[in-house]
């Protein structure tokens, strides 16, 4: 167990080091330094630019810049956002809670839906219900994230104006609402993005859960459960389901990248002011420090969640815990 954890931790550190280095290399390989490109105003003379390069340390050797980049990143100093005109860290501090709210709710909901659908399918593999749910899941699995979000937006915000088309709160009225109405307004703004994100990721989870259940069905203890007189349904729900939950913890780690990707598109379509929208808008604004730091932070989060998932599996599975 300890050896496994140490190896796994080392791997996570490796991932973080890889991501940080990758971000640094990409920034430095890109044509033009930030002084030449991001501040491309003709009335700034070359002398001033040179002064800036010295001030920002861009005249130092690459190795020194790399060490400083790593040290700064470790301290949470992620650079300065040109488009927001404030430190990247502050921009992220505002956006992060919004993303965590959206993806947290989406995560809970999609696992609830996904596990339930997987169970419904695996109860009678190959049966009518299994086949139809399978087809629906495959459609959802094949749908472009951003397109589903756009279609949901068109249908439920514009054609049938049941929900607001975007943002977290009503841009005009929110300040004047009573606390109860404020809460309701927030809920209304959450419904479409959370549901879209949940449905998109639930498809992958259900497909995985069905597979995990089918993998444990031919076990000896399933035969024992049936032999002692349990109904097939009871055996699946009480015995197979619990055993199939273990891979689902692994799935939690595996699904995090899908959430990061889904959140980028869902946030963009529903103008949800989270990390994804900030990064995407940063691309258009050519705000390199913001984009690079955003991707770095999201990748580290993803790696962290995968690590937590693997530790949880190790703790739950005696074969690894005692091995």
């Amino acid at each position: 167990m300890r050896r496994y954890l140490a190896a796994r931790l080392l791997q996570a550190i490796g991932v973080v080091a890889f991501v940080t280095t990758f971000a640094f290399v990409v920034v430095h390989l890109a044509p033009g330094d930030p002084i030449a490109s991001a501040l491309a105003r003709p009335n700034i003379t070359e002398a001033v630019r040179e002064q800036w390069r010295v001030a920002y340390g861009l005249d130092r050797p690459v190795s020194e810049q790399y060490v400083r980049w790593v040290v700064n990143a470790a301290r949470g100093n992620l650079g300065y956002s040109f488009s927001h005109r404030r430190p990247v860290r502050d921009v992220f501090a505002d956006a992060m809670p919004n993303t965590l709210l959206l993806s947290g709710l989406g995560l809970v909901l999609s696992f609830a839906i996904g596990i339930m659908v997987g169970l419904l399918q695996a109860e009678r593999p190959g049966g009518r219900r299994d086949r139809w749910l399978g087809r629906i899941l495959l459609v959802l699995y094949s749908v472009p994230d951003f397109w589903l979000a756009l279609v949901v937006l068109i249908l439920f915000a514009y054609r049938l104006p049941l929900f607001p088309p975007g943002g977290m709160t009503d841009s005009v009225m929110y300040e004047y609402l009573s606390p109860g109405a404020k809460f309701l307004d927030r809920i209304k703004h959450l419904v479409l993005p959370v549901l879209t994100l949940a449905v998109l990721t639930a498809a992958g989870i259900a497909r995985f859960q069905r597979g995990a259940l089918l993998a444990v069905l031919p076990s000896d203890w399933m035969r024992t459960a049936l032999a002692k007189g349990l109904s097939w349904q009871a055996a699946v729900r009480h015995h197979a389901f619990r055993n199939a939950l273990l891979p689902t913890i692994t799935l939690f780690g595996l699904s995090i990248p899908a959430f990061a990707t889904g959140a980028i598109f869902v946030e963009k379509v529903f103008s949800w002011p989270g990390m994804g929208l900030i990064v995407v808008n940063g691309i258009a604004a050519r705000d390199y420090p913001l984009v690079t730091a955003g991707v770095m932070v999201m990748s580290v989060l993803v790696a962290g969640c995968a690590l937590v998932a693997d530790i949880a599996v190790a703790a739950a599975d005696p074969r690894i815990r005692l091995g």
Partner: protein
């Protein structure tokens, strides 16, 4: 290569073929994909208008679907159906070329790593582990955002460059499984050179998983390209791709819905066909229908 494949693959092949022939999914998916490929090949014959022509900026701007323009016109008065048909070429070409490159590269790398083992294997697999934990879309966003406007060719190469991880891992696992099989040991004892053992005895065993992986990857790359184009960093206008047609209508989804709906349906149908075919191939190759719980990432 297949004619001289080892005994194991030789026995399995007819069964697999029979299973595939009896699977309705395979025929539907192949039919859909054939129609899409034909659309791409014969785009100039099928498209009613020039996809880049601004037909009548004064009167034909953002017109809803009509008889003359079955899928409507866009904000530049271009015919959406024509753009969609030509977009098929771009989206399909990007996906097929990128997947061919990444599957070839990943297969070779996985086979060599698995067969040679040792330090090469360890380094490569640690790298793949690390790369796996970063969402592909995020990786591409950084690179493309920083390099600015990139051509369709560079885009394809970039997508290929981040697409070989899954297949290299699969092929490596298959290689490990047969590396010490008797017929490989026998070939080695006879003095058959390593590259020939790889090509004739090891790779044919890995070809099945690689094909499944490639089929699913085509769908994934179509989604990836569409997503990047939607974010404005994939295929650049005026070259039409399924993703950037949607992007051009994205600011006006409340009234110009046809720019969103039709290209999205094209993507959905194509990706669905790829995934259905991939699922069918996997079921045929693995009759137990057991998804290996850990190596089989549900999200790619």
């Amino acid at each position: 290569m297949t004619s001289k494949s080892p005994a194991g693959a030789g026995i399995a092949a007819p069964t697999v073929r029979r299973r595939l022939r009896g699977d309705r999914r395979v025929w539907i998916a192949l039919g859909v994909l054939a129609a899409i490929v034909l659309t791409a090949v014969f785009a100039p014959l099928l498209a009613p208008y020039d996809p880049r022509a601004q037909l009548d900026i004064a009167h034909l701007q953002s017109q809803p679907p009509s008889l003359a323009h079955p899928l409507g016109t866009d904000t530049f008065s271009r015919d959406v159906l024509s753009r969609l048909i030509y977009g098929t070429r771009v989206s399909l070409a990007v996906a097929l070329v990128a997947v061919s490159i990444s599957i070839t590269f990943g297969t070779l790398l996985g086979a060599v790593a698995g067969y040679v083992g040792g330090a090469i294997d360890a380094v490569l697999m640690r790298f793949v582990d690390a790369a796996f934990s970063i969402p592909t879309l995020l990786l591409l966003i950084v690179v493309i955002a920083l390099w600015g406007d990139i051509s369709v060719v560079s885009l394809t190469l970039l997508i290929a460059g981040v697409g070989w991880f899954t297949v290299s891992r699969l092929v490596r696992a298959e290689t490990l499984a047969v590396r010490d099989a008797d017929y490989v040991v026998a070939a080695r004892a006879l003095g058959v050179p390593g590259w020939r053992i790889l090509g004739w005895h090891v790779l044919p065993n890995a070809i099945g998983p690689a094909i499944v992986s490639a089929t699913l990857a085509v769908g994934n790359v179509i989604l990836l390209e569409a997503g990047l184009s939607y974010l404005g960093i994939g295929v650049r206008p005026p070259t039409p791709s399924w993703g950037n047609i949607i992007e051009e209508g994205a600011t006006r989804v409340s009234d110009v819905w046809w720019l969103t709906l039709f290209p999205g349906l094209a993507i959905l149908v194509t990706v669905f066909a790829c995934n259905a075919l991939g699922d069918a191939l996997r079921d045929a190759l693995d009759p137990r229908q057991l998804l290996p719980a850990h190596d089989d990432a549900p999200f790619a």
